[in-house]
């Protein structure tokens, strides 16, 4: 099914004379290790990108000393974080405090694992792909909530409660937009969604008005889901210290930081898969060349990430009642109507 399976397993079985069973397990370990590396590098790269983008919007230079364009700055930061003492408050709930980072890291890693980077490069092509990503990333809220609760710190508790209410609320509109786009494509499998778009054009084009409404809702809800400004009430620095991870130090803090940025990438990748054709090239200019899809997928996804970074320096932070009003009184009714609208459009055959 996937190229990396056949390449690795074939190589091991044919060239190294390895039994098929062992080759299978070796392959799994190799793939998991590769994804771990991608996970860490992606987090470091996105932190660098965020800082450079912030500097760009504020007409500063940003990190530019370590390595080309300051690329190694975040690696230095990561090394610094490793060398920090892992400590925390004595009053914490030790068990919950310890297991909380595992939730965020594991869920971000599992969601990353099913993303289709190109036609040939997709580790897992499960038939419930989109549903799997949303369900897995909704578990991450448990990690953040546990961190806030177990810290025994009033600011952390507030941050944790806010994250709970914010992330579960905005998950609803994400789910409903996915339902609307599923009506258009008729499948939940990531590779099939993209091959549908290969035939009918990108969804934002073939679904026209309801797809554009869905895209706007998805961008708003996705920004809220990954706890980014203007929805960063969870770790609002000026009111809550740093929210749910106040009591985490060193690497324990770095896990939350890493997972937050990888989640941003995953949300952007979902936008690209659902609306902008995943690894498809614009107008099919590079069709048929293997592995070029990786470039287009990453290029488009980083474009959406850039848009989310742009939001951060454009909008002021919401109050919590405004946040809930926006979701429950505007986005949910709009996305419910949007499902019916999309169903009507598909039923009457008005798609391109």
């Amino acid at each position: 099914m996937t190229a990396n399976k056949t390449i690795i397993t074939d190589f091991l079985v044919d060239q190294m004379q390895m039994p098929v069973d062992i080759a299978f397990w070796v392959e799994i370990v190799v793939v998991a290790a590769v994804y771990l590396g991608v996970f860490a590098l992606l987090g470091l790269f996105l932190v660098w990108m965020e800082r450079r983008a912030a500097a760009f919007f504020q007409q500063r230079l940003g990190p530019n000393r370590r390595g080309p364009a300051g690329l190694f700055q975040t690696i230095a930061d990561a090394l610094k974080l490793v060398s920090k003492e892992i400590t925390g408050t004595e009053k914490r709930d030790k068990f919950l405090y310890t297991i909380a980072p595992y939730f965020v890291i594991v869920t971000a890693l599992m969601a990353l694992a099913v993303l289709p980077f190109s036609q040939e490069l997709q580790a897992f092509d499960i038939n419930l792909g989109v549903f799997f990503i949303t369900s897995v990333s909704s578990v991450a809220v448990i990690g953040i909530f546990l961190a806030g609760w177990a810290s025994n710190n009033k600011f952390s508790l507030l941050g944790g409660m806010r994250s709970g209410i914010q992330m579960i609320s905005y998950e609803l509109s994400i789910g409903m937009v996915i339902v609307a786009m599923t009506v258009l494509t008729g499948t939940l499998q990531l590779s099939e969604i993209i091959s549908f778009q290969q035939e009918h054009g990108w969804s934002i084009w073939s679904g026209h008005i309801p797809a554009i409404i869905g895209f706007m809702i998805f961008m708003i809800a996705g920004t809220a889901e990954s706890n980014r400004t203007p929805f960063d009430l969870v770790e609002a620095e000026s009111e809550l210290g740093s929210g749910y991870h106040s009591e985490y130090s060193g690497m324990n803090f770095a896990y939350y930081f890493l997972a937050e940025f990888v989640n941003m990438f995953i949300i952007s990748a979902m936008v690209v898969i659902l609306f902008f054709g995943g690894w498809l090239s614009p107008f099919g200019i590079t069709d048929g060349i293997p592995y070029v899809g990786v470039f287009w997928f990453v290029f488009k996804t980083l474009g959406v990430v850039m848009l989310m970074m742009w939001f951060r320096w454009t909008f002021p932070r919401f109050r919590i009642d405004q946040l809930l009003t926006l979701e429950w009184k505007y986005l949910i009714p709009i996305s419910m109507v949007n499902i019916v609208f999309m169903a009507l459009v598909v039923w009457l055959g008005l798609t391109f």
Binding site: S83, K84, E171, L172, I332, A343, V346
Partner: protein
């Protein structure tokens, strides 16, 4: 790759944290004093217990969320087969969403969606 291989990924995540924490414990400089073990609340000593009752608003929203989340799960299979079923599916989902919309309106009217 088979779906069962996906179960390796949680293990990989756990391994990442265990290894990184082990390294950090190995090379980090450690110090200890009484103030360091206090919760950090912007430098002010914490007053009273933290795990107390919190406002009911969070709870209300969580309950309404549960209803709508189940709704989304119900809609997923409908969305997949919509093109094959056609008109019947459209009318059915209209009824389904209208009933849910009335539920949302009820919560709205009961001021469950107000943050006060």
């Amino acid at each position: 790759m088979g779906i069962e291989a996906l179960l390796v990924f949680p293990l990989a995540g756990v391994a990442l944290i265990l290894i990184a924490n082990f390294l950090a414990n190995l090379i980090s400089y450690k110090s200890d004093n009484k103030a360091k073990q206090e919760p950090y609340e912007s430098g002010i000593p914490t007053i009273g217990p933290t795990w107390i009752q919190f406002r009911v608003g969070y709870y209300l929203f969580a309950i309404i969320f549960l209803i709508f989340d189940v709704e989304v799960i119900f809609l997923m299979p409908w969305a997949v087969v919509f093109k094959e079923v056609g008109a019947v599916a459209f009318i059915e989902v209209l009824v389904f969403l209208v009933i849910l919309g009335i539920g949302l309106l009820y919560a709205w009217k009961k001021r469950a969606l107000r943050w006060e």
